[in-house]
Structures are given as structure tokens and as C-alpha cells.
């Protein structure tokens, strides 16, 4: 695998992102609006079971950062479909570059963008009443990096297989958004009906949200981080298989 090819594909993702102001604005704006309106609106009406003294705005904050990651990952994986339609991808496919390098460049590029956006959002933590220390901020950045790779890799696998942006929207609505809704980002696992709690436990994103919440509140996170990292690796391995399977290599 050529590191030069990975680097150039990674760099292109960043160049493209910062040249499309609408993408920058959309990536930052939507989760901010979600958090502010939903968090504020629900804060007054709901008491969180087992989390006395935590406002909903504060509870919802880590979940919102994960939403930032999810949106960023979705946008960058949609670029796989755009690359295919605009013709750029065919130029890469005929170059002397392995499929592994294409996966690495696209997934790491998308994950880098998602991570930057999430870290910027993380800086707003004090506004929600979460006190950041240097240590918790660095740990959170680390967890976000793993989650960014995981979510981008999951999106990439679907985007490679799906032909159209419309098709990807279906995947987004049926797979990616429910993954987020069930991850404990929006409502806590404790107090959920049993059937829902079961779904939440098999949702891989649950452990990512748990890890992020854990580092922000200095709770133990080793198991959640390990599961999140395993999911990221598995998704990445799936991408490698999907790009090779049944196609000319």
C-alpha cells in the first residue's frame, strides 16, 4: 500500500471540505440547533432517572457531540457516491493504487473532518455545565477519534455499495439515525422498557456514547473504549472486504 496515495486522498478530503462553506456551516449548525432547542425544551419537562442534579441540556451534550460525528461521517461518506458519479473515483480506480489505500485515504480523511468538528463542539462543554479538565478533554478527544473512524468506516461500507445519494438516505434513516437514537445519546438506558434496553445494548454506538460520557464525568470507561475500538476495526475490515469483493483489484 502506497503511503503517498493514502496521504493525497486524505488531503483531498480536507481541501474539498474547507472549500464548501455550506458544508462547514451545515456540519456545525445542525447539531448546535438540536442541542440548544431540544436540550432546553426538554430540560424543563423531564427528570432523568438515576441522574439527579444533571440537567437534560447537560445529559444531552455528549450525545450531541456524537451526532456531530455522525453527521460529519454521513457527509463524507456521501462524497464516495459523489466521487463515483462525478467520475473522480474511476480515475483513482485505474491508478496503480491498491483498494486498501483508497479505503484508508477516504475513511481517515472523513474521520479527520468529523473529529475536527466534534472537538470544536467539545469546547462548548462548559456552556452545558460540564467542567472540562485538560485530562478529560484529551481523553474525550481520543474517544472521539476512535468513534470518528468507526462511524466513517460504517458509512463508507454502505456508500461503496449504494449507487445513489437517495439510496444512502435510506440507509441513513434505517440504520445510522436509529443507531444514534438507541445509543443512549438521547435518553438513558436506565429506565428504558426492557425490549428497548435490549436493542440499546446491541447497538455498537451505545458503548461509544458511554465511553465519551465516562471520560467527561471521570467514570471508568475501559470496557466501553475497548468495544468501541473493536467496532471501529471491524467496520474498517468490512470496508476492505467490500471494496475488494467481486471487483477488479
Amino acid at each position: 500500500m502506497s503511503p503517498l496515495a493514502v496521504l493525497t486522498l486524505w488531503r483531498r478530503e480536507l481541501q474539498r471540505f474547507f472549500r464548501q462553506p455550506s458544508r462547514v456551516a451545515g456540519a456545525a449548525g445542525t447539531p448546535l440547533v438540536f442541542w440548544l432547542f431540544m436540550g432546553s425544551g426538554l430540560s424543563g419537562s423531564f427528570r432523568l432517572p438515576g441522574a439527579a442534579g444533571v440537567s437534560y441540556l447537560q445529559f444531552f451534550f455528549p450525545g450531541t457531540i456524537v451526532l456531530v460525528l455522525l453527521f460529519a461521517a454521513i457527509f463524507s461518506t456521501i462524497s464516495v457516491i459523489e466521487d463515483r458519479h462525478e467520475g473522480f473515483l474511476q480515475g483513482v480506480l485505474v491508478a496503480p493504487v491498491s483498494r486498501g489505500a483508497i479505503v484508508a485515504g477516504k475513511v481517515l480523511g472523513g474521520a479527520t473532518l468529523a473529529w475536527i468538528q466534534a472537538v470544536v463542539f467539545l469546547a462548548l462543554a462548559p456552556l452545558s455545565g460540564i467542567h472540562l479538565t485538560l485530562r478529560s478533554a484529551l481523553e474525550a478527544a481520543g474517544v472521539l477519534a476512535i468513534l470518528a473512524v468507526s462511524l466513517t468506516a460504517i458509512g463508507f461500507g454502505f456508500a461503496w455499495k449504494v449507487d445513489s445519494v437517495q439510496g444512502f438516505h435510506a440507509v441513513m434513516n434505517v440504520v445510522l439515525l436509529p443507531m444514534w437514537l438507541l445509543s443512549g445519546a438521547f435518553f438513558p438506558l436506565a429506565g428504558a422498557p426492557r425490549w428497548l434496553a435490549a436493542l440499546m445494548r446491541i447497538d455498537p454506538l451505545t458503548y461509544g456514547v458511554e465511553a465519551l460520557r465516562g471520560v467527561l464525568y471521570a467514570a471508568p470507561v475501559a470496557a466501553a473504549v475497548a468495544i468501541t475500538a473493536a467496532v471501529a476495526l471491524a467496520a474498517y475490515a468490512c470496508d476492505l472486504a467490500v471494496t475488494r469483493g467481486g471487483r477488479v483489484d
Partner: protein, 345 residues
């Protein structure tokens, strides 16, 4: 194989005779969604040759192009490029360094500048540093886009984009350049550009293989294969292909073309006149003398006469019974385009 045997000798550059062919295909078959897109394709391209595949959309050109570009694998048969088999996955990365590919749909990243596009391309082909910078500078100058190098590709006109595409494909110095419908969508000026570029490549000894449905573009090739319905129906130099028509092509218009064709066929059965697009068409040697007599023999029946040297269009018509430009609404057309937009199935 018959066409190959009959034409392999003519119009091949003498210096290349006996050399290893640049491209050699034997018995190539490919199906797409249960429909045969290619049914047994054989051809050889000599090094330094400009070789064209001329045929209507849906004739199999795009499928063949994707196979040559290493994006699809033939179901049957073999394709060798400079002696290496395209089916040999281990040699594919090395082989791709010898290939330059210009797709019909652009592969430029429109958000990036022209220069950035070229630099990215260089990195993908393992070029870097001073060598890459020199190549980018040369490519920009050669294709007359140096003054636009800092602009985003989306700001370029269609003709300039095509130049940038070709500059990109040639950056790493490929030995074989593949072009899919290179003059489609270009204005006459940009087409002249393209043909000058091809002449330059011929002088440099780069082998060029292109697909086209324009007979003018076919005329500029050293050798041509006419592709229809997934088969090669004729192969040879443009001149040799046209010679087989023997004489001129005559087109008559009149108030009742059907009746005119019937009367002509009755009087001159050897002409086998046919009605196409409301005009009577036949081939005949020394047609100008014949036509003068004909107009006198059939007063009032003929309104206009055209006598012309045969074109590749006429060759195609004779071989397939169909016009080259006729857009065929067959399924094969749609499936080929679908194949072009997606990836190899």
C-alpha cells in the same frame, strides 16, 4: 478471426512489424445483466499506432473500454497489454503505470484547482518532488492551461477541461493512452486541439486506443475496428475500409423515392438501391457519368443528386445495414451507460 487475418498486414507501421503488440485481445466476451455486450472480440494494436473503435452507442465500445482500462474483467478470452495479461492480478499495479485513461465523463475534481488535480494525480502514480513539479509544469504548458493552473477546475470550459483531463492522463508518461469518446461534447476548435494532441503523441511513439461514434474521428486513426452488436464487423485502415465500397455513393431525392428505387432496381439490378431517410441510395463506379444518363432517362423523377466518395459511414452501413449515427434505442445502449456510471458488476 477472419477479419484479423485479412487485415493484419495493411497499414501497420513497418517499424512495428514483428514487435510485441501493445494490445492483443483474443475471444473477449462479456455479458451485462444477461445480455451479451461483447461476443468474441479479437484485435491487435501495434506499438505507436492510433487505433480506433468506431460504432454506434450500445455497440459494445464502453464495455470494451472498461475492460482495457482494467475496470472490468472479460468473462471469456484474454487481453494482453504490452505482453501482460490483464487477468493477472499480481502484475496489475505495474501494468496500470503504463496506462493513461481519459474517460468520457470527466475525472477532474472540480473543487480543486487544475494544478492540484495534476499534483494529486502525480502522487497516485508515485511521482513526487522536483520530478513531479517539472512534469506538472510541462503538462500545463503543453496543453496551454498554465495561465489557468490556479483556478478551480469547475471554472474551465468544456474544451479546457478535456485538455486538463488529457494532461492528467499523460502526466506519468504512459505507453498506452486510452480515450473513451474523446471528442463528444467538444466544439470544433477543441476537436482540432484534440487531433493535434493525437498527432503529437503519434510522433512520441505513444500508442493510442480510442472509441468514437464520429466517422471524422475514425478517419484520423491509423487503423479502425468497426464495432456493432458486440462484434467487430470490419477492421483495417480507413482507406482500405473505404476501398471495399468500390466507386462512389449516390443519393437521389425525388417526389416518390420508393417508386424510384423499384424502377432503378428493375433496370439496374446490380445497383441494389435502397431507400434511407426518404432518399434513394446506391453505390456505383464512375457515378458522375452514370448519373447524367439516369437523370435523362427518368425525367421529373429525380429532384436532387449527390455523388460522393464513400465515407466510413457508408462502410458501416454496408457491413451492418444500419446507419452509424442512428441512435438505437435498444436495451444494450441503456445497460452500457449504466455500466459506465457504476462499477464493474
Amino acid at each position: 478471426m477472419v477479419a484479423l487475418a485479412a487485415t493484419s498486414a495493411d497499414a501497420r507501421p513497418a517499424s512495428a512489424a514483428g514487435a510485441e503488440p501493445a494490445v492483443e485481445a483474443a475471444g473477449v466476451e462479456f455479458s451485462y445483466k444477461g445480455r451479451k455486450a461483447l461476443s468474441g472480440i479479437d484485435f491487435r494494436v501495434a506499438p505507436g499506432e492510433i487505433f480506433g473503435f468506431l460504432g454506434p452507442n450500445g455497440g459494445g465500445k464502453t464495455t470494451l473500454f472498461r475492460i482495457l482500462a482494467t475496470l472490468a474483467r472479460p468473462e471469456r478470452g484474454t487481453v494482453r497489454v504490452f505482453g501482460s495479461d490483464l487477468a493477472d492480478a499480481a502484475g496489475l499495479v505495474r501494468l496500470r503505470r503504463d496506462l493513461g485513461v481519459v474517460f468520457q465523463s470527466p475525472s477532474l475534481d472540480l473543487q480543486l484547482t487544475v494544478r492540484e488535480n495534476l499534483v494529486h494525480q502525480g502522487y497516485l502514480y508515485g511521482l513526487r518532488g522536483a520530478d513531479l513539479a517539472a512534469r506538472v509544469g510541462k503538462a500545463l504548458a503543453r496543453f496551454g492551461i498554465a495561465d489557468r493552473a490556479g483556478e478551480r477546475a469547475k471554472k474551465l470550459s468544456g474544451g479546457l477541461r478535456r485538455r486538463a483531463e488529457i494532461a492528467k492522463a499523460l502526466l506519468h508518461g504512459p505507453r498506452l493512452l486510452l480515450l473513451d469518446e474523446p471528442s463528444t461534447g467538444l466544439d470544433p476548435g477543441a476537436r482540432r486541439d484534440l487531433s493535434r494532441t493525437l498527432d503529437g503523441l503519434r510522433r512520441e511513439g505513444v500508442t493510442v486506443l480510442l472509441t468514437t461514434h464520429f466517422m471524422e474521428e475514425g478517419d484520423r486513426c491509423d487503423r479502425l475496428a468497426l464495432l456493432d452488436g458486440g462484434r467487430i464487423v470490419a477492421e483495417g485502415s480507413p482507406a482500405a475500409l473505404k476501398e471495399e465500397i468500390g466507386g462512389d455513393v449516390v443519393i437521389l431525392t425525388g417526389p416518390d423515392p420508393e417508386a424510384l428505387a423499384r424502377d432503378l432496381a428493375a433496370r439496374y439490378p446490380e445497383l441494389s438501391p435502397a431507400v434511407r431517410d426518404g432518399a434513394v441510395r446506391f453505390e456505383r463506379e464512375r457515378a458522375h457519368e452514370f448519373v447524367a444518363r439516369l437523370v435523362e432517362t427518368l425525367p421529373g423523377r429525380i429532384e436532387a443528386v449527390s455523388v460522393a466518395r464513400p465515407t466510413l459511414e457508408d462502410v458501416f452501413l454496408r457491413r451492418t445495414g444500419r446507419a452509424l449515427g442512428a441512435a438505437d434505442a435498444e436495451d444494450a445502449d441503456g445497460s452500457e451507460r449504466e455500466l459506465a456510471a457504476g462499477e464493474s458488476p
